[in-house]
Symmetry: C2
Subunit: 471 residues, 2 copies
């Protein structure tokens, strides 16, 4: 055993013995050198090893912090939404979350679905964009191909192959973010008045598409470990004329679970049996904490009934609005819908993302983000366990950067948010994630960005206020 | 009178006397110096004066060419579409035009709605984009405000004031191109099965929205000088349950007319009387050949029933996908529709366009493009008069860069296009501009880009082929 390995082992044992808990500061490099009688480079190597094993986290200009795999003591309960088709409401609340408040700079937005945009591994993307625009020719300023940039289609097909999802570049249409992919898919499959089955809780952006299209949402109970209940879905398919099943089976937003592969396979079989289409939102799929990343439902799709929707908004940056859809047998209709909705997508952002992937920057960035988000998940769970009232249900995310909490009592998180706003804090109330405003006692947190003392103070304050409202 | 003015006058007289016709090459600088016994700088000043008066056009590395205001000998006839609501067809033909053929580099695309992307006055835009991306911070990579960049909203409001259209920045929502503006407006106002009145011929992109939404188009007869027939529209409003009037009243695509102000005002009164909304497509409006630019219908809108749609795709570049809509009283519903369709628009392209306008580059670019397109209009009309069979109806565009031809016989322009493809030529067949595929004997040409010998040869070849098909 090398010297640095011995030092790492010593530290790991202390963490496992509980001498350091998640978020506690570990000895400085200097202190470690002194204590263990080793060189600076050996101490640094030991910490790098602990980072690799997920037992320590480096925070820039601050030092190393302990990490233990904190699994939540209490999970959220299996959801029990009303099992009948409902009109979607909640737009006012969604608007408040997404419109970008004028005071956002002063607000600590703990609930939005935004990745870490300060990551050093993003820098090549901005360099690529600057270079492309500096040297742009008439073609780069013109409309792009309607289906998308050929090179980006190719790179996406290559990426998806990593999860056994074999797509031809022609199967992929580039969109203006995942929101357009979902919107085109739903509009292609449905007419006003139709019923769409959704996992519940469900991403509010999709719910609002249902509202705008005059569709009804049939919310299906969901297990916080395994996802949508296939049993409940089957009953619903027998009972209602469901036109499409819309769900986020991998690194779910907001619950964080990844459906086991066998259940994904069973879901496809069920959809075949009832001849219904599946809209799969995979926007967080590349941020799964396991390698290789989990398979998509699309990868089990034998007859083109799955429309796979995704984007680079969570894995890279949202502000470029580069998304895509693989619409299976519905390709021609979705292409028409794309043409009438926005025409060709913006030209150079597609090229920049394609280059970023082709040159290996994307996979490097993903590795770094997955490491960071996995650490942050454990820290955030530890903070919630420390600062929220006992009995709070906490999700156990298998990827991504979102945490879902179920409060142990009838706290109204919309009202909570109003009180938090006075202190420049903001969470995403759970009612956004339901057609009918259920889950008002739940909330979503974001742990993407560096978990600074200000963030911990914010989480503590939310927890305190929840306790006040409960008492 | 200065010496250069005297030389300019001499040349102008020769042009007016018909010694030089539009498109004929004028004497070189050297020849003019020799002939008139003046210096090079005097000869150059004389040609600059002729450019200002619209009697000569400079072509880079080629010399000066004569221009006379060629008004077409024969205008297209007033259109007579079927005056009953129809389902929209023609998607296959539109797809062929817009999908971006693999062989496009070798094709001479004479029919697409693309501006000149090589203009020197565009360069500051690419510099702004490169600079913005090089220095981008997390905010620039994030989702933008849902309604749009504040600064861009402000600049658009300022631009529109030039045509007496008073908008508050909050009245304006930024979209992904004009196509999204039109799509959001139509989807906000209508439900499947509804009837929408359109000027006929009408932009195929809008017609395809009707198709995708399951709407019916009621095509209203249109005069190639004054636009939609208010008399026919009034009859239609009495007869059918029309939900919206969609039209392009300024620098119309494809017919090129600008509706007189009095008729724009009358149209608003008519819409008020029947309580129907107006969707005004103004995408070519800033390219009008008169100064100040013509007023929008929106500028006569007293009660917020006009949804004004536009973009920088024709005045600047299409590939950035920056458009906007001023939805009047429908603002909140259109904002919801925008959220569900694509979410916030891409962040930095909005900032770049706002800067381009704020620093005066936009107005400089417009001046240059208007001068160029006005010259090109006259040249293109002269070419068509020379190379097409007698009796060809030619539009008289009041702005923009599109020319509409009505052939003097039953030539099927879809078949014409198939024959042209073999010779790497492509026009936009008129049937694209009708719900039911009327106007097959019409076609649209583009005169935006430099009118090189290759373009003239293309136009001549199209004219020859038309003559062959007629005989």
């Amino acid at each position: 055993m090398k010297r640095y390995e011995r030092v790492a082992q010593t530290l790991a044992q202390r963490i496992e013995q509980g001498l350091y808990r998640t978020g506690d500061r570990l000895p400085s490099i200097r202190a470690l050198c002194h204590e263990q009688g080793v060189s600076v480079s050996t101490a640094q190597a030991a910490y790098r090893r602990l980072e690799e094993t997920g037992q320590a986290e480096a925070r820039p200009r601050s030092g190393y912090y302990a990490l233990t795999r904190t699994t939540p003591g209490v999970l959220p309960r299996v959801t029990r939404p009303a099992q009948r088709p409902l009109d979607v409401s909640q737009w006012d609340q969604v608007l408040e979350l997404v419109r970008g408040a004028p005071a956002e700079d002063r607000m600590l937005m703990l609930g939005r679905g935004i990745p870490d945009l300060e990551a050093a591994t993003l820098r090549p993307l901005q360099r690529l964009l600057a270079t492309l625009y500096r040297g742009v020719d008439a073609r780069g300023l013109n409309y792009d191909n309607l289906a998308g940039s050929r090179e980006l289609q190719r790179q996406i097909a290559r990426l998806m192959a990593a999860s056994s999802c074999l797509l031809h570049p022609d199967d992929i249409l580039i969109t203006t973010g995942c929101q357009e992919a979902l919107s085109l898919s739903l509009r292609t499959l449905t007419s006003p008045g139709d019923v769409v089955a959704v996992d519940s809780p469900s991403f509010y952006g999709t719910m609002q598409i249902l509202k705008a299209q005059g569709l009804k949402a049939l919310e299906i109970p969901t297990d916080p470990r395994t996802g949508i209940s296939l049993e409940a879905l089957e009953l619903a398919l027998e009972q209602w004329p469901i036109r499409a099943i819309q769900l986020t089976p991998t690194c779910n937003n907001p619950l964080g679970y990844t459906m086991p592969e066998s259940r994904k396979r069973d879901l496809v079989a069920l959809a075949q049996r009832f001849d219904v289409a599946i809209i799969e939102d995979d926007i967080y799929g590349d941020l799964a904490f396991t390698s290789p990343r989990p398979r998509t439902i699309k990868s089990f799709d034998g007859d083109g009934r799955v429309l796979l929707c995704s984007a680079f908004s969570k894995t890279l940056v949202p502000g470029l609005r580069v998304g895509w859809v693989a619409p299976g047998r519905y390709r021609d209709q979705v292409l028409h819908m794309k043409y009438v909705s926005t025409g060709a997508s913006a030209t150079l952002p597609q090229r920049a993302v394609a280059e970023f992937v082709a040159q290996g920057y994307y996979e490097r960035h993903l590795r770094e983000m997955i490491r960071q988000y996995r650490c942050h998940r454990d820290v955030m769970i530890a903070w919630v366990e420390r600062h929220f009232p006992p009995g709070t249900g906490i999700s156990d995310p298998q990827g991504g950067f979102l945490l879902w909490l179920e409060l142990p009592g009838a706290v109204d998180c919309v009202r909570l948010n109003e009180r938090l706003a006075v202190e420049h804090l903001h969470i995403a109330p759970g009612s956004l994630f339901s057609a009918s405003g259920k889950y008002r006692h739940c909330l979503r947190l974001n742990y993407a960005s560096p978990l600074t003392a200000r963030v911990e103070a914010g989480v503590r304050r939310v927890g305190e206020m929840v306790s006040e409202l409960l008492s």
